[in-house]
């Protein structure tokens, strides 16, 4: 209730002013305590992972969890990257191929399609868009088993393609691209390019893509996360551990820690190494997230 009267400080009477002065720090303090508590909730687990990955196996169980003991990070990293013939590095590489290259190509395909849906009138356009919009509501986990059935029908499970190709398709990317293209590429500009004799496809690649650039970053980020987080698809598709993305690899290691206890170190350091570049990239590119999220909110 005290917060309710907080802005009364702006009022004309001195009584109100003094009340405002007294209560403003109070509600500020409450807000500060809430924000501080949640900062701890969100960051302590990551902090713990960072600290744990610097510890030797003995110190991991015997020392206090949230502070450094002996500094074994280099030994742990060496162990991580050499265990099992250096398979971890391969998993990282695979993840970059599936999520990085996949999202890059997927962004290109989605933006081309979304752009065409926004800028050209053609028969069946609305039907096409509605079908793709329906695809937005189909979660990637629901597709994993059907995709496995299709790929096993042509005997192509347990290959790079079986994870890479399905990852290229992002209906949500098409949806975002359509919104951005409609808002950021003016029709007069396309008309002008046409009069200059530029072909439609060339106009897209030389003019429209530049205007849509912030949207493309957003689409890329969304798709990257979707592929990176998609655990079910590689889980059902892949049996050869050299094809695993890093998440599936860490999962496989983690389920062996009861039999092979020293793998626990590899799991912890491996988890830390996998998320550090992601967290940095996410935080650095946050303004693109917000742009995309704001556009996504228009839908509901």
């Amino acid at each position: 209730m005290s917060i309710l009267t907080r802005t009364d400080g702006y009022g004309p009477t001195t009584a109100r002013e003094s009340r405002g002065v007294r209560e403003r720090p109070m509600s500020r303090l409450v807000a500060f305590v809430i924000m501080g508590a949640f900062t701890l909730y969100f960051l302590v687990p990551i902090w713990w992972l960072a600290v744990a990955s610097t510890k030797s196996r003995g110190q991991f169980t015997s020392s206090a969890g949230l502070w450094f003991a002996d500094f074994h990070l280099w030994d742990n990293l060496t162990f991580l990257f050499t265990y099992g013939g250096g398979v971890y590095l391969r998993w990282l590489g695979n993840a970059v191929i599936y999520a990085g290259v996949g999202a890059l190509l997927g962004t290109l395909l989605a933006s081309m399609c979304g752009y065409a849906l926004a800028k050209y009138l053609f028969r069946g356009r609305d039907l096409l868009f509605n079908i793709i919009l329906g695809g937005v509501l189909v979660p990637v986990t629901a597709l994993a088993l059907p995709l496995f059935l299709i790929f096993s029908a042509v005997d192509m499970t347990n290959t790079y393609w079986s994870v890479f190709l399905p990852s290229l398709v992002s209906p949500f990317g098409v949806y975002l691209a359509r919104i951005y293209a409609a808002a950021s590429v003016p029709d007069e500009l396309l008309e002008a390019a046409r009069l200059d004799g530029s072909g439609e496809v060339r106009t897209f690649f030389t003019v429209s893509v530049r205007l849509m650039a912030p949207a493309l970053v957003t689409i890329f980020l969304f798709q990257f996360v979707t592929i990176w987080n998609n655990f079910f698809l590689p889980l059902v598709m892949l049996s050869d551990d050299r094809l695993y993305p890093v998440t599936l690899g860490l999962y496989a290691w983690n389920s062996q820690t009861n039999a092979v206890p020293e793998l626990r170190t590899a799991v912890i350091v491996g988890a830390f190494v996998a998320i550090v570049p992601l967290i940095l990239a996410f935080l650095g590119l946050q303004r693109f997230w917000r742009g995309g999220l704001a556009a996504g909110g228009v839908k509901a």
């Binding site: 809430i34 395909l109 065409a116 983690n254 228009v298």
Partner: protein, 310 residues
């Protein structure tokens, strides 16, 4: 910008004569180049698999005698009869329903409160909090679950004073232990969606409310919350879908505890059935789950939209 001026600098009337028919053919070719690649892949890896899964769900394996060769034939609703008779599947649906009824409101409520706080003049250092709360979203579900698995475990956790006394990974608690992992990852993401909706509200609305004598709490409840309802509906739909599709976290937790069965969530039922392997039944489970997901998010959208416009 420079492209725009150079493009306009040229003589605009020069090629206008006779261009409409030619332009249409240009567009047809452009459409083929722009639309066909995506739609071909969409057909191959969205529509075709869904169709094929539906097809497989109507197939059944028949054997001649006990040891005869197996052949696949049309089985009508045989697989669906098994789906409806599967206690494990319905128990798993009940489990995620309970999970969703508790976790989704808690997570979205938390996201809303944090977004409102960051948006209010009460908080300094908004940028820092935005980054700190969003950071967990960069952690993939598998890694988040592994991390929390260690944090929950009685012997390895830095909070072993708590975890050795409270069986967080025991049968009664493990569902809520998983709920906490999901909440930890997604609160910041949902908060950002709500926060960007708050940022889109024009400042004059607050001015008007302030002149009318409304305090911060009052402005938050009566002005801001109604205006971010569309964002809440969006996050609600995605959260419902996510809950029904829960797989990663429970699957990872199976390495930490025996309390998570192989049929803990509907998607685990699908996965376990497919490893038997019984693909036709797994396909039927998948189809039923997808339909339920679709119906539930549709109903939720209808209900909330009606409420929002009353």
């Amino acid at each position: 910008m420079s492209t725009q001026t150079t493009a306009r600098g040229r003589n605009p009337g020069a090629r206008q004569t006779g261009s409409p028919p030619r332009r249409r053919t240009h567009h047809a070719r452009a459409l083929a180049v722009l639309v066909v690649p995506f739609f071909a892949l969409f057909t191959l890896f969205y529509l075709l698999p869904i169709g094929y899964a539906v097809f497989r769900s109507f197939r059944t394996v028949e054997r001649e005698g006990t040891f005869g060769p197996a052949t696949e034939v049309f089985g009508g609703l045989t697989q669906y009869e098994q789906v409806f008779a599967s206690d494990a599947f319905w128990a798993s649906l009940g489990r995620v329903a309970l999970f969703g009824i508790v976790q989704v409101p808690v997570m979205l409520g938390l996201a809303l409160v944090l977004a409102l706080l960051i948006d209010s003049p009460l908080v300094r250092g908004k940028r820092f909090y935005r980054l700190a709360f969003f950071a967990p979203y960069a952690v993939p579900g598998v890694i988040a679950a592994i991390m929390w698995g260690f944090l929950y475990s009685p012997s390895l956790s830095p909070f072993s004073a708590v975890t050795s006394n409270v069986p967080l990974l025991g049968g009664g608690m493990v569902l809520w232990a998983i709920a906490n992992v999901v909440t930890w990852v997604y609160v910041g993401y949902n908060m950002l969606i709500i926060y960007s909706a708050l940022q889109a509200i024009p400042g004059e609305i607050y001015e008007a409310a302030r002149i009318d004598g409304a305090g911060q709490l009052r402005i938050a409840w009566s002005v801001k919350v109604p205006l971010v309802v569309p964002a809440l509906v969006l996050t609600g739909v995605f959260s419902i879908i996510g809950t029904l599709q829960l797989l990663t976290e429970p699957q990872v937790f199976r390495s930490f505890t025996t309390s998570v069965s192989s049929t803990f969530t509907p998607n685990l039922v699908v996965y376990t059935t497919s490893t038997v392997p019984n693909f036709n039944l797994a396909a039927a489970f998948s189809v039923v789950l997808a339909l339920l997901t679709f119906v539930l998010s549709f109903v939720f959208l209808r209900l909330t939209q009606r409420k929002a416009f009353q």
